[in-house]
Symmetry: C2
Subunit: 192 residues, 2 copies
DNA sequence: TGACAAACGGACTGTCGGTCCGTATCATGA
DNA sequence: TCATGATACGGACCGACAGTCCGTTTGTCA
């Protein structure tokens, strides 16, 4: 890894922060343009694209920051999220925790899942693949292998950003309403 | 309803057919532009927009044509899709039938659900609201009212166009694999 | 401090959804 | 059949946006 020049580091930080804030305050992710982000970060557009390549990747970087603590917990934290946790409870805890992150970062998540790009690659993104694989493996011992994969997809489908957003804004559910319905649903899904 | 002039009728038909075909043959819905459609239909762009208002609505009209037979079956057809069918089987049949339509019209469905527009309004679309309401009512007697709504969302989340597309293209599942996994899943979801 | 690599920034490009308006076509009734 | 008004046509045009290019500035290090 090469050393990063001081101005480059400063700008990268400014861009990430500006992006985060702009999405958080926007009504819809589509109304935040790359020009907006560049202006808010006090940076030229060229800098933005040189650093992050394209819009999707920029959003993904911001998201990675937000997700880091959860990832840490899941990978090496204590129960119920960590590896020592019994599979059932771990699955349930992971789904709940992801839902919380998505509820707290609704606009950002929508920007990412909503697929601004032409290719819809949510299911091919490394994050999705990783969490799907983990969930699948956790339920594989109780259900068949192929059944486990389906269940993992299904659980994740229940916490898609746009669905959560609709439940909040369209049906007026509170975060705790959603979490408790979700908990029931996951429990039922994992029952035989 | 006003009478439609002969050339207008001819053009509307040409546009709908061209749109259907272009989406069916495209790799990704994003690569079909309104100019492409106008050219393929042998029509000016103005005509396209005068007739259909905007891209989303045009796609929705094409989709409506494809969906009409299923809608007919559900509204007034015989069991298992029609109103006379016992709720459980009806729910299962409806989910299966929708999945089939989506699998057969994958590109079109992706264009519609993928939300080319800035506003993600899948959950507010009349079609979604209608089918969600129907499913909810069908399971409401067995589950609580609010629980029923969640289950309906959940069932529909399992047959989102992009998920189905990924199962086919990314995981190499056949249509019948998917339908049978889905059938099992729905049955389990509706079990107490 | 000088010199060069690295980074900057904003004008520029290509494309797309959607609009506008002068022109062509259809329907009607005399 | 033809005049006439209403309706529809079509493609040049517009504004916005993601992404590129390159002349200019800035940081680094000897």
């Amino acid at each position: 890894m090469e050393e990063e020049r001081a101005d480059a580091a400063r700008n990268r930080k400014a861009i990430l922060e500006a992006t985060d804030e702009l999405f958080a305050n926007s009504d819809s992710p589509g109304e935040v343009s790359m020009d907006d982000i560049a202006r808010a970060a006090g940076v030229g557009k060229g800098t933005l694209f040189r650093r992050f390549g394209d819009r999707r990747n920029l959003i993904q970087q911001v998201y990675a920051v937000r997700l880091a603590p959860l990832r840490e917990q899941i990978e090496k934290g204590p129960a119920p999220l960590g590896p020592a946790s019994p599979p059932r409870e771990r699955v349930s805890a992971i789904i709940d925790a992801i839902a919380v992150v998505k509820l707290e970062n609704a606009h950002l998540m929508l920007a990412l899942e909503g697929g601004s790009g032409p290719t819809n690659d949510l299911y091919e993104s490394t994050d999705y693949v990783a969490v799907h694989g983990l969930l699948r493996d956790l339920v594989a011992s109780e259900f068949g292998k192929s059944r486990a994969s389906w269940i993992a997809h299904s659980l994740l489908a229940n916490i898609r950003a746009d669905l959560l957003g609709y439940l909040v804004n369209g049906e007026g559910m509170s975060h705790s309403d959603i979490r408790s319905s979700l908990r029931d649903f996951v429990a039922h899904t994992l029952d035989h």
